[in-house]
């Protein structure tokens, strides 16, 4: 449960080695501190923790279409594990996750380029890269569907220009999942770019100057200074990115029409959850599915934390 929220776990990790503060008498300043974190704590309890408990409870019940539920034990979990569409959705979701992580190298590369000394108009570039991230997913999905369109889409025009065949990118089961993944990368890169730019800013210039005196070229400086010193930031970003891509929903909802023959090959766990809970009146099974997804996210996050020793350098 706790590992789903990396900040908590990271804080625990970072605090390792320091002795825990002895229980002090409640002072005024301490009370003030609690008061300051209270809004977050209350928000967390009301909007995260309580729904989590509720979902867990509902996953053992069957719902009436308009409310009311009965306890049915573990039937929902049996249904989830037996359903082939769940496994298919899980596979698709892992593909989204893998593609989604591609946003990180792209963002690191762009961040390194934008941090060159003497580059003008950095703010403009930063804004341009960030705009897709703050654009509504609905608008993003609609525009990209238009770009991908097999009959009049710009992408196909370009392909035809180079002599390649037209394709129905989002309706062909062999390309649809990657077409959506590409849009995911496009729309999230800006977010990670901002994080990485801040991370790179935090690296002392002295290292670069020293390296330059030693005759290290830009590539060498990037791989021996920037990348290692950026690794804590990369670690944070990769966890956030993985969790976000495992929860992919909105782009699929917008870009995949109901009659799309590629729907089985693109459906994510969350879009399957939506279908069960809100269209087919199977809220109980949907809750079980959501809980399963939470466990998967928790497990993968745990793996990431275990692996960080091997590549993350805290300076």
């Amino acid at each position: 449960m706790m590992s789903v929220f990396p900040s908590t776990a990271a804080a625990k990790k970072a605090g390792r080695g320091e002795p825990a503060a002895p229980p002090a008498p409640k002072s005024r300043s301490q009370r003030a501190a609690y008061l300051f974190i209270a809004p977050l704590g209350i928000g967390f309890a009301v909007f995260y923790f309580w729904p989590l408990l509720q979902t867990f409870y509902y996953s053992f019940t069957e719902f009436g279409a308009f409310g009311g539920h009965t306890w049915i034990g573990t039937d929902n979990y049996v249904r989830v594990l037996k359903d082939v569409t769940v496994w298919q959705a899980l596979g698709n979701t892992l593909i989204y996750c893998a593609i989604g992580l591609l946003a990180l190298p792209v963002a690191i590369g762009v961040a390194a380029l934008l941090n060159r000394r003497g580059l003008r108009g950095v703010a403009v570039y930063r804004a341009l890269y960030f705009i897709p991230f703050v654009t509504l997913p609905v608008a993003v999905g609609l525009v990209w569907n238009w770009l991908y369109n097999g009959d009049y889409g710009l992408i196909n025009e370009a392909f035809e220009w180079f002599g390649a065949d037209r394709r129905y990118w989002v309706s062909d089961p062999s390309t649809a999942v990657y077409a959506i993944g590409a849009v995911m990368v496009w729309s999230t890169t800006g977010y990670y770019l901002i994080i990485f730019m801040a991370g790179i800013k935090g690296i002392p210039q002295d290292y670069y100057e020293a390296a330059e005196l030693d005759g290290a070229g830009p590539l060498r400086r990037f791989f021996t200074i920037t990348l290692p010193l950026l690794s804590p930031t990369i670690f944070f970003a990769s966890i956030i990115c993985m969790i976000n891509s495992l929860q992919t929903f909105d782009l699929i909802y917008i870009m995949m029409a109901e009659k799309n023959p590629a729907i089985g090959d693109t459906q994510s766990v969350v879009s399957l959850f939506y279908k069960w809970a809100f269209i087919e009146n199977a809220q109980g099974a949907a809750a079980a599915l959501a809980f399963l997804l939470m466990l998967i996210i928790a497990a993968l996050t745990l793996v990431q934390f275990r692996l960080q020793k091997r590549w993350v350098h805290y300076a």
């Binding site: 009436g64 279409a65 308009f66 409310g67 569907n145 991908y148 369109n149 097999g150 009959d151 009049y152 889409g153 129905y168 989002v170 309706s171 062909d172 089961p173 029409a257 109901e258 009659k259 799309n260 023959p261 590629a262 729907i263 089985g264 279908k275 809100f278 269209i279 087919e280 009146n281 199977a282």
Partner: protein
Amino acid sequence: MRRRTLLYGAMAAPLLAACSGQSDDGKRSGGRTTLSYGVWDVAQVPGLQKVIDAFEKENPGISVRMELTPWSSYWTTLKTSMRGGTAPDVFWMNAVNLQLYASSGVLEPLSGHIKSDRTPVDRHPESLVKVYAYQGTQYGIPKDFDTIGLWYNKALFDKAGIKYPDTTWTWDDVRDAAAELTNPRERVHGMAAEMDRQAQLYPAIHGAGGYVLKDGESGFGDERSIEGLRYWTDMIDRGWSPPQSAMVESKARNRFWSEKAAMVYEISAYSGQYHAVPALKDHAGVAVLPKGRERATIIHGLANVISAKSRKKAAAWKFVRFMAGRKAAEIQASAGITISSYEGTQDAWLRSMPEFDLKHYIEMLEYAVPYPSSKNTAVWENLQYPLLGAAFSGKGGIESAARTLGEQMDRALKEERA
């Protein structure tokens, strides 16, 4: 500034809700009662507004406000708002959802009102009225009906030198014409065989002598039903129709409107939109569906229902009753939106678009099959497109896809009975 306005808005919202909650049919506050009316079809809004204007004129104490929710999210929004107690007082219902809503007790039973107010329900097609009854109680009164017809592009037919479709046409005639009309160089297809259950799948299944749902069992595994589905997939395999993957990105009707498809099966409710395409006005025609093994089309219609949680039921009933009458039907029909279900008002609809021979839509009433539904229709209907998608994209295998669909649908039907 903007943030502050937003904040005021957020604070005012609960207050407004409290105010409207008190009005209860407008008796206590003495003001006008405002009914909310949930609809999904934007094309019908201007015509419906005329009906509402007429109603408000007759009932000065009541005003009706339409709440438009697009089809794709209509039912999810409705279900959520029912749980939250913010559902519209009166809203549109279809055959697919009636049993689910009626059996859950969220609809106001209308039988008592109908009897005491002598409502002319019997003036609507009986088969359609029956769709909106559940266990002997009437929950909705139809406002319109629709059937499926064959649209064809006269200019493309003339160019290919083919006679227009008429009542003598069979599936063989359609196939011959589709082959002739297909012109790959100009990217014109003879037919647009989109995978749509109401306009294409169900009419063809019944046309082939098959069935979708009978005595609680699926008909998708039936040999004749499969023959009906093959009518469509054959046309895709032979290149007379674009594959489904293409029609996801440009729908069948859009292809017809841009004259890239010479024929398409279409629901009568869309006639107004065809009428609005300037290029088509002078050379589009409608014919009855061609005969397969049997003559068949699908009939469906919308009904108005009242939410059981509405606090303005008296006013809501007045509105539903008005909508069930001749006057509302005539206004609706002459606005050209859809075929009013009230007996004898269909002529007004025909006259609204004289360019097309819309009378064929009404002629088909004789052999129209009601739209199939069960208690949790959405569950088995949602199995159809994912399972049939590959076959409708020219990948073949319609036989096994249809049989698998039949088995899964039977399982879903068994589950809803349990």
